[in-house]
């Protein structure tokens, strides 16, 4: 209070601006850009490279780019204008021509409103789940309902008068979202059980089983599991029984994700103070109620930021399914430039795909950082 009083006592006219060497853009530049000869050299070098790269990209991607190409009478595009500027300008025409294939794969052209609605449903589901106001029990039911609706829309149903589209024709962004979302939604309960099993002190056999499962899965690459699902799984089934490729890949992703998520959840269980367990025991709660009412609500809350980081990893890893011949977003993009007309314009498509993946992952990582800040607010002075 004394400070404020003293400050108020100084007449306004007597206050002076700090000298220009301390505040203002010139001083900012001097401390942050030209602090030492080493810093000056770095500034000049990075500035030069950044300007050159930015100019190169603008010239390639905007100034000399080809945005559309003429189509002949049969509706076939003519890529000659693009071929003329190879190396000088980008050919965005490949995207305006092929964007529906890249986004939806081989899904029947007239029915593509259905995957589009699915994408919207997914985005809505993520948006609602991200809002802490909606973190309650009913959210689980919403998830089940929306995921069922998405399956119905994608597959169609003859009784409702919709064309049936079997899952070998699904592709593009909806497929990537399905693999990631269903994978995580089903892996999560499994992961919680494995994490609890691994922490169990009274059931050594169950603990051993969980340890072996987690370490085995985390020790091998996802590709080997996908290989296993595509070449070994048919051998495991009785003769005549066969699951399709997509379902097998989904199972492999669930098993893979569960092992990693289990380790994250275990971190949360370990971080919980021992007093919480002891207090629950002292109240005479059974194991199930102790876990459901005391342990999990607190442990899961601690691990939400690392969980979101794990989700980001899995969202990116779903792209690996192209190795066993599934048309996810990445593979649809690659197949789009297999068309002889557009051969050689892969980098433009890759830039689009990178932008799509980046949007999803960056949104998740921003969100995770925001949560972390929100959770730690009580601990930061």
């Amino acid at each position: 209070m004394a400070d404020i009083a003293a400050e108020a006592a100084v007449p306004f006219a007597a206050r002076q601006r700090p000298p220009a060497a301390v505040v203002g853009p010139a001083a900012w530049a001097r401390t942050n850009l030209f602090g030492s000869w080493w810093s000056t050299a770095l500034t000049l070098l990075i500035g030069y490279l950044a300007l050159r790269f930015a100019w190169g990209f603008v010239s390639w991607g905007l100034v000399h780019a080809v945005w559309s190409v003429p189509h002949n009478d049969a509706g076939q595009p003519n890529s000659a204008p693009c071929r003329a500027v190879i190396g000088i300008g980008a050919c965005w025409a490949v995207i305006s021509d092929k964007y529906r294939f890249i986004l939806f794969g081989f899904y029947p052209y007239d029915e593509q409103w259905r995957p589009l609605v699915c994408i919207a449903l997914f985005l809505g589901l993520y948006g609602v789940s991200a809002n802490r106001r909606f973190w309650r029990r009913e959210l689980g039911l919403v998830w089940i309902a929306v995921l069922a609706l998405i399956m119905l829309l994608m597959h169609g149903s003859a009784t409702l008068g919709m064309t049936v589209v079997t899952d070998d024709r699904w592709g593009g962004l909806p497929l990537t979202l399905i693999l990631a979302t269903f994978g995580l939604a089903l892996a999560f309960p499994l992961a919680v059980m494995v994490a609890l099993g691994r922490r169990s002190r009274t059931m050594p056999a169950v603990r051993l089983l969980c340890v072996v499962y987690v370490e085995l899965i985390r020790g091998v690459p996802l590709i080997s599991l996908l290989f296993m699902s595509s070449v070994m799984f048919p051998l495991f089934m009785p003769q005549g029984v066969n699951f399709d490729n997509l379902l097998r890949a989904q199972v492999a992703i669930i098993l893979f994700a569960a092992a990693y998520l289990a380790e994250v959840v275990r971190g949360g269980l370990q971080a919980l103070p021992k007093g919480q367990y002891e207090a629950a025991d002292a109240l005479g709660l059974s194991y199930g109620r102790k876990t459901r009412l005391i342990v999990l609500p607190q442990a899961l809350r601690i691990v939400i930021p690392p969980l979101v980081n794990t989700f980001i990893g899995f969202f990116k890893d779903t792209s690996l399914v192209l190795i066993i011949g599934i048309y996810d977003l990445l593979q649809s993009g690659r197949a789009a430039v297999d068309d002889p007309v557009w051969q050689g314009f892969g980098n433009e498509v890759y830039i689009l795909l990178a932008a799509i993946y980046f949007c999803f992952c960056f949104a998740m990582s921003k969100y995770s950082r925001g949560l972390e800040r929100g959770f730690s607010r009580s601990r930061v002075r």
Binding site: S39, L42, T43, P221, S224, L235
Partner: protein, 403 residues
């Protein structure tokens, strides 16, 4: 203090006496036993069912199980191989060995380069220079959020679009970039070079011994004998002297264009180069974050206290900050190394012949699906477990010794 042992209050806590299990559902011991039997029994039944199905399926398809196919000759064409190999003559075992060596080659080089690049970027993010900090932040944010497979395709596409050998790009003397790969000059290895390397290793061991002696002397007397003249002598002068004594051989094998192809030098194939560049850039963005958070985790007061003692900047970094930062850095760094090794299996997508690629071809040719997948898994499990073991040992070595 002499009376402590006799005092019953100080005695070690005794274990609860063993009690007999009651045959009642209200006994937790019985319930635990029951659930364990149920879970393990379920798993055993499932495995038994799957094994039964598998053996019936294998019989129906007339596939013999076992690893006998390893000694059959393999019809797999292999582009790059560190050991001699002839398709249709050499065995599947040899082909798989080449796959393992190729995986190791890209992993080891990748881990080293990713660590160096990641550390530089991570330190750059902490720089006071605004442009450098923003540029490295952009690097990390963008590269972490794009799937590594997409990045591999991008680099591979870029390398394939390079001009042919006749118009190869030639950025610096002796380096050629073409769609056949990257050509680099290489030293002609001679006896003098081997001698110099041996001398250097010997010098490194002696330097280490000397610095231990110096530390012991410092602990005893408080005065540390100078280390750098000895290090200079042992690490630079001694190897150079050995090299000169053996005739100072030095000749570079520089690639040169002869007709349609290059002669001399070493080649990095486009597949290898794309895989290496992709893995290094992707992993380095993660390592940069680990290094940055590790350094930031060291409390500001540690720097201030060290400077207050009058220690120079280099010593503060080396003796005060880094040892504390390493404790935070090592565990996540281990998992990044493991990730890099596991991600090297994506080689199969761009045609570099690592273990997954060769085992995949093997299982297609021989039909030995189970053995093929088992080999892939065994190889990666061996890598993972041995690196985990080493890093755990290292982590224990640098961990804070508490009471």
């Amino acid at each position: 203090m002499s009376g402590t042992a006799a005092d019953p209050r100080y005695a070690a806590p005794r274990a609860a006496p063993r009690r007999r299990m009651r045959l009642s559902w209200s006994d937790p011991l019985l319930r635990n036993l029951f659930w364990q039997v149920v879970v393990i029994g379920g798993v055993v039944l499932l495995v038994w069912y799957l094994v039964g199905n598998t053996s019936r399926n294998l019989q129906a398809r007339h596939i013999a199980t076992g690893f006998r196919f390893l000694t059959q000759s393999a019809a797999i064409p292999i582009g790059e191989s560190p050991i001699p190999y002839t398709p249709s003559v050499s065995t599947y075992g040899r082909a798989l060995l080449i796959g393992i060596l190729n995986t190791l080659r890209v992993s080891v080089i990748g881990v080293v380069l990713a660590t160096v690049l990641g550390t530089l970027i991570g330190i750059g993010r902490l720089s006071k220079n605004f442009l450098l900090a923003k540029f490295t932040a952009l690097y990390v944010e963008v590269l972490r959020d794009i799937p590594v497979l997409l990045q591999l395709f991008f680099w591979y596409g870029l390398l394939q679009h390079l001009p042919g050998t006749r118009q190869a790009l030639h950025p610096i003397a002796g380096v050629f970039l073409s769609n056949r790969g990257i050509k680099l000059p290489w030293v002609d290895w001679e006896r003098g070079d081997t001698g110099a390397v041996v001398a250097f290793v010997l010098g490194a061991v002696l330097t280490w011994l000397w610095s231990r002696r110096a530390a012991a002397r410092q602990a005893r007397t408080g005065v540390r004998p100078a280390t750098w003249p000895v290090a200079l002598l042992l690490l630079v002068v001694f190897p150079v002297a050995v090299w000169a004594a053996l005739g100072a051989p030095f000749s570079l094998d520089v690639p040169a264009l002869h007709g349609f192809n290059f002669q001399g030098g070493i080649t990095l194939s486009p597949e290898f180069a794309a895989l290496l560049v992709g893995l290094v850039i992707y992993t380095s963005s993660y390592i940069a974050e680990i290094v940055r958070s590790g350094i930031e985790a060291v409390a500001q007061g540690q720097w201030e206290a060290a400077f207050a003692l009058g220690l120079p900047h280099g010593i503060v970094l080396r003796q005060i900050v880094l040892p504390q930062a390493l404790r935070v850095i090592v565990p996540p760094m281990t998992s990044q190394y493991l990730n890099l090794i596991k991600n090297s299996s994506l080689a199969v997508a761009i045609g570099y012949q690592d273990i997954v690629s060769i085992a995949g071809t093997t299982l297609n040719q021989t039909g030995q699906a189970i053995e093929g997948v088992a080999i892939i898994m065994a190889v990666y499990l061996t890598f993972s477990l041995s690196i985990s073991a080493f890093m755990n040992w290292y982590n224990a070595h640098i961990a804070l010794v508490e009471r």
